[in-house]
Amino acid sequence: MKNVKNVNYWQIDNKVKNILEMKGVEVLPGELAWEKYRWVREYFVKKPKQGYFIWIKEQIDFPLLTCINILSKDIQQELNNLIVVEKNLDIRLKGTCNSLKRNLCGKHNACGKIILKENSSLKYEHIHSWNQKDVIDINYEFLLGKNSKLDYTYKIFSTPEELKIKTKVFCSENSAANLKVLGDSRNSKIKIEDRLILNGEKSSGILKLRLVGRKNSKISTDSQILAEAESKGHLDCQGLLIDKNSELSLTPELICKNKQAQVTHEASIGKISGEELYYLMSRGLNEQEAIDLIVNGFLEIK
C-alpha cells in the first residue's frame, strides 16, 4: 500500500497501527465492535481478538483501504473481519495483506463476513503478497442482499509456502456476484475452495479462476455453484502449468436444485504454446521475459 495515511484500517503483526474514520464510515477493531453493537455478534462465531469492523453507512466516492502486514518473525495473526455495506450504496474497497520481509515464517489466519444490504454494490479487490515461508489460511463469506451486486477479485502473485482459501457467496433475490481468483504460484501448496450459492430468485453469479503453477507448485481447487432458486451461474476454471515439477488439479462442480436454473461450466489446463513463446522471443524477449508476459496476459481477465 503506497500511501498508508489513507488506509482505513492498518494492522502490523498483531497490533492496530492506525484507524482512519471518515464521515459515513465507522471503523473499529472487531473486539470493540463486539462490545459496542450487540447486532454484530450474529456475524462473529466468538468475540474477535483481532481484525476490523467496517460499517459503511453513507456513499463514499473513493476506495476504502485496509492493510494487514506481517513485519516480525514467527507472528501468528488471527483476524476476524466484518464489513457491512448499507442499502443503496456503491462502494469500492481495496484490501492488502502481505509480509514485508523474507523468512518471517508468518501465519495469517483470517476469516470474515461481508454483508451487502439491499440495492448496494461492492467492488472489492483483495490482494495478497507473501513470502516463501509464510502459511496463510483465509475464509470469507459474502452475504448478498436483495438486488445487490458484488464484484470481488482475489489476486496473489507472490505465494507463500501454504495457502488455503475458502470463499462462500450467498446470493439472495436478484443479486449478482462476479468472483475472480487469480494466482501465480511458485514453490507453493495452494488449496482453493469456492462456493457460489444461488438461493434467491433471479440471482446470478460468475466464478472465474485463473491459476498458474510454476516452480514445484501444487494447486488444487474445488469450485462449486449450487443453484437452489431460478438463477443463472457460470463457472470458468483455467490453469496454466509452466514446469514439469508442478501439479494443478481443477474440480468444477455444478449442483442444480431448481428446474428453472441454468448453470454452466468450462475448465481447462494448458501449457504455454511454443509458437507464442517463440513469437515473443523473435521480438527480442528472452525465454523468461516471454513466459512472464504470457502469464500476465493469462491472468488479465475482464
Binding site: 504454446s273 511454443g274 509458437e275 507464442e276 517463440y278 513469437y279 515473443l280 522471443m281 523473435s282 521480438r283 527480442g284 524477449l285 528472452n286 521475459e289 508476459l293 504470457i294 500476465n296 496476459g297 493469462f298 491472468l299 488479465e300 481477465i301
Partner: protein, 235 residues
C-alpha cells in the same frame, strides 16, 4: 555482406525441408524469395530468425560477418534481424502497446500507423490487414538492419497492398535497411522493385534473376511448373 547463408540444410519434424540454400544480401539491398506453397520459404525465414523448432543439419548463417547459426533468437534480434510473421499467434491478455513498451528501440509515440491497434490484445480477432499492420509496427520498433517479410502481401487487396508497400519503403528501404521479401503471388514486387529475385521450389533455390518482371511474367503465365523445367535449374 550483411546476411550470408551457405549451403543450408534444415530438418523439421524429421523431414528435410531446406536442401542446400545459398543466399547473400548486402546492406541496404532488397531481395525477394518466391516459391509455391510448402516450398520451404517460411521455414527459411524462421531459421534465419532462430526458431529452435528447426534443426540445422548442414551449412552456416553469418550476419554482419558474425556466425549466428547457433545463436538464440532474441540475440539475433539484438544484432538487427527482424521477421514479420505470416500467421502470427494471438497473445491473449497482452496489449500491443505492452509488448512495444518492452521491445521498442524507438519512440513508439511517434508512430502514425496503427494507433488504434495499440490498445488491442496482440493478434486477437485482428483482421488480415490489422495483423499485417501490427507486424509492421513491431518490426519498426525493433529498428532492425535486416527485415524478412514473410508473405506480408498475402490476403491484402491492391489498396492495402499499396499502403503496406509505402510503409516498407518509408520505414525501411529509404533508411537503408536490407529486405528479404518472401512472397507467393509476387504482386508486392511491383511496388518495391527488388534487385534480385530467388525462386525456391521443394527446398532449393532453383533460380536467381535480377529482372523481377521477367520472373513474375513467367510465373503469372505458367505457374511454378515452368520454373521447375527451366534450363537454368541449378541442380
Amino acid at each position: 555482406m550483411l546476411l550470408e547463408i551457405e549451403n543450408l540444410e534444415v530438418e523439421g519434424e524429421g523431414k528435410k525441408i531446406l536442401k542446400g540454400i545459398d543466399i547473400e544480401i548486402r546492406s541496404g539491398e532488397v531481395q525477394a524469395l518466391l516459391g509455391p506453397n510448402a516450398s520451404g520459404k517460411s521455414t527459411l525465414a524462421q531459421v534465419i530468425s532462430g526458431n529452435p523448432k528447426y534443426e540445422i543439419i548442414k551449412g552456416k548463417i553469418f550476419f554482419d560477418r558474425e556466425e549466428i547459426t547457433e545463436l538464440q533468437a532474441e540475440k539475433r534480434v539484438k544484432l538487427g534481424i527482424a521477421l514479420t510473421w505470416q500467421n502470427p499467434p494471438a497473445i491473449k491478455g497482452v496489449k500491443l502497446s505492452q509488448l512495444l513498451e518492452k521491445i521498442s528501440k524507438v519512440e513508439t509515440e511517434k508512430f502514425d500507423i496503427g494507433k488504434d491497434l495499440l490498445k488491442k490484445e496482440i493478434n486477437l480477432n485482428f483482421s488480415g490487414g490489422e495483423r499485417k499492420m501490427s507486424e509492421l509496427i513491431q518490426t519498426i520498433s525493433l529498428n532492425p538492419k535486416l527485415v524478412i517479410f514473410d508473405e506480408i502481401d498475402s490476403g491484402l487487396d491492391i489498396k492495402r497492398l499499396e499502403k503496406v508497400a509505402k510503409i516498407i519503403k518509408k520505414e525501411f528501404i529509404q533508411k537503408g535497411v536490407s529486405i528479404l521479401l518472401i512472397t507467393h503471388s509476387g504482386e508486392i514486387l511491383n511496388f518495391l522493385k527488388p534487385s534480385l529475385i530467388n525462386v525456391m521450389v521443394n527446398g532449393k533455390i532453383i533460380c536467381k534473376e535480377k529482372d523481377f518482371k521477367k520472373v513474375l511474367g513467367v510465373i503469372k503465365k505458367y505457374g511454378y511448373e515452368k520454373c521447375k523445367k527451366c534450363k537454368l535449374l541449378a541442380d
